[in-house]
């Protein structure tokens, strides 16, 4: 067991290193002279910097050195949790990310809660009553939920609940009512997906030998359902929640833009519009790290939840 965990940690660290390399390499895509851009951001305006200043910045920032040197230098700072400063207002990138991420997290937690509350009963019911109208209804609703573009759903919700019914606020972050529309927008796809996965897991478990054996031994419906069926059917749901957490982070970019929610997605959109390179790098690397950590946790959970994996 120890070996498994150590192996998994090493792979994760390797992937993280690769991700940091790609993140840094991504910046090479930007056209134009990086030193010039830094100078313009620092002194405000192209007419206020001369060639000497640009050369000085190029030297100082190590931009004249080969790519791999620049990367190593950047990585050294990153390892010490120094992601640099925003080119726009000079604030440390890490603290900007930390502040915004906690707000994204509020949204993500609300969306997951909605998804679980709706999809757990729906998925189990659909799986138990397979082939009935209820099952078909769940299937149709879930494929629609997966296909609905996030941005569009958000706008429709605003039109209905804010413009027409005047029930809920649409923009910004304030009291608890502000989180309702964005979290429904964000949670819909996850609800749909989780329902589908859970339904299939329930069906699969019901077809397994142990389930038949339990029923043959005359166990009541309730204990079979809750003690045995659920335990097995919930395993794929754990994985899905892991994958979904990642998808939620992506969905958050769009949802936050629609609802002007001051989270990490909104920060990213602003960073790209301002061509604020350290901030873009920071956010991309941070989100990749979150992804890798989630995957690691899911693998661990899987390992502890499902003894069958340990045999292989």
């Amino acid at each position: 067991m120890g070996i498994f965990i150590v192996k998994r940690i090493i792979t994760s660290l390797f992937v993280l290193l690769g991700a940091s390399f790609l993140t840094y390499g991504m910046m090479m895509l930007a056209p134009g002279d990086a030193a010039l851009e830094i100078a313009v951001a620092r002194y405000g305006g192209e007419d206020r910097v001369d060639a000497e200043t640009i050369d000085w910045i190029r030297e100082q920032e190590g931009l004249s050195k080969p790519f791999i040197h620049q990367y190593a230098r950047w990585l050294k700072h990153v390892v010490m949790l120094d992601l640099g400063r925003s080119m726009v207002d000079g604030a440390p990138v890490l603290s900007l990310i930390r502040q915004r991420f906690s707000r994204t997290l509020e949204l993500v937690v609300a969306a997951i809660s909605i998804a679980l509350v709706v999809s757990l009963p729906l998925g189990i019911l659909a799986g138990m009553k397979r082939g009935t109208w209820l099952d078909s209804l769940c299937a149709s609703v879930s494929v629609i939920g997966v296909s609905m573009p996030n941005y569009w759903l958000g706008i429709i919700l605003i039109v209905v609940f804010c413009v027409r019914l005047k029930l809920l606020p649409a923009f910004g972050r304030g009291d608890i009512t502000h989180i309702i529309l964005p979290s429904i927008t964000l949670g819909t796809a996850m609800t749909a997906y989780t329902t589908k996965i859970l339904r299939n897991a329930v069906i699969e478990t019901r077809q397994s030998d142990f389930y038949t054996a339990l029923k043959a031994r005359g166990l009541g419906k309730r204990p079979v359902l809750f003690r045995h069926l659920m335990k097995n059917a919930l395993i794929p749901v754990v994985t899905v929640i892991g994958i979904e957490l990642g998808m939620l982070l992506e969905g958050a970019v769009i949802t936050e833009t629609v609802f002007a929610w001051p989270g990490i997605g909104e920060l990213m959109v602003t960073a790209i519009s301002n061509r604020d390179y350290p901030l873009i790098q920071g956010i991309v690397l941070f989100s990749a790290t979150v992804f890798i950590v989630i995957n690691f946790i899911v693998d661990m959970l899987y390992y502890f939840l499902d003894p069958r994996i340990r045999m292989t």
Partner: protein, 284 residues
């Protein structure tokens, strides 16, 4: 999840067995055909010039001549959506073609060669998988600047990994089958083994992935358009149309309603088709 019906109950009488004649599947197939037709014949279908501004019709509601109303510059929304469908679907298909080719090549190489090459290629795949798709595509498209080529590159570079993983897995297992070994022993060239014996076995999973991938690619392209990092106005693209309409949700909600539906219906039908194909081929 794979097909849950036992295989032997499937009546294999014709190309379309009873299972595939269900109404949802038929509707999805019809929408798919309509979408493809619209994308191909778009310039012939538009009733008005999609770029022609007419300020006297600013934000006008739907009418007989302008079936979906007019946008903030008085342009015909219906015509813009028709051209937008062409742009979004066209970009989506191109993304699928690129990412699919890249993924299949890497998957074949990895699975067939095995050993060190396999290890390296799969770790690279893991690394690309570690980025949130939309966020990474946004960063790439945003950094590289606006333009169709950059957009295609940005979305393709974040979506080839699924193909690579699946193709590698199938290739690994097919490689060990008797008939491949016999072919090898009887002197069939490596190229021929890959293209005639291994690639065809992969096709069913690749087709399933590509169908669902098309839905994802269209969503990604239009999401980037919506965020302002994709196709740039005045060029009509469905996500870009929504971005333009967003500022008028209070006064003219139809500007958002119709482009959104135009994204949703194709994506929905590609997803349904993908699900059905998955049931049929039993991919994962």
């Amino acid at each position: 999840m794979s097909d849950t019906h036992p295989q032997h109950t499937l009546p294999q009488t014709g190309a379309l067995s009873a299972k595939y004649r269900n109404p949802i599947f038929v509707i999805a197939a019809v929408i798919t055909c309509l979408t493809i037709f619209t994308a191909i014949a778009a310039p012939l279908l538009v009733p008005n010039d999609p770029y022609q501004a007419n300020l006297s019709l600013r934000l006008a509601p739907p009418s007989l001549y302008y079936p979906m109303g007019n946008d903030a510059l008085g342009r015909c929304l219906f015509s813009r959506i028709i051209i937008g469908v062409r742009t979004s679907i066209g970009l989506g298909v191109t993304v699928v073609v690129f990412s699919c080719m890249l993924g299949v090549v890497i998957g074949l190489l990895s699975g067939f060669t095995g050993g060190f090459v396999d290890e390296v290629l799969m770790r690279i795949t893991d690394i690309f998988f570690s980025f949130p798709e939309i966020l990474a595509a946004m960063a790439v498209a945003g950094l590289a600047g606006p333009g169709a080529t950059n957009l295609l590159f940005a979305v393709s570079v974040v979506s080839w990994m699924r193909y690579a993983r699946i193709v590698r897995g199938v290739t690994l297992s097919v490689k060990e089958r008797e008939y491949v070994k016999y072919a090898h022993l009887s002197g069939v060239s490596t190229n021929s083994i890959i293209f005639r014996h291994i690639l065809p076995v992969n096709m069913s999973s690749v087709i399933v992935l590509a169908t669902i991938g098309l839905a994802k690619a269209i969503l990604a392209v239009s999401s980037l358009g919506f965020l302002g990092f994709g196709v740039q106005p005045p060029e009509p693209e469905l996500g870009t149309l929504l971005m333009e309409g967003k500022d008028y949700i209070m006064s003219a909600p139809h500007l958002c309603l119709y482009p959104g539906l135009a994204v949703m219906f194709p994506v929905l039908s590609f997803n349904i088709l993908g699900d059905k194909l998955q049931d049929r081929f039993g991919g994962n």
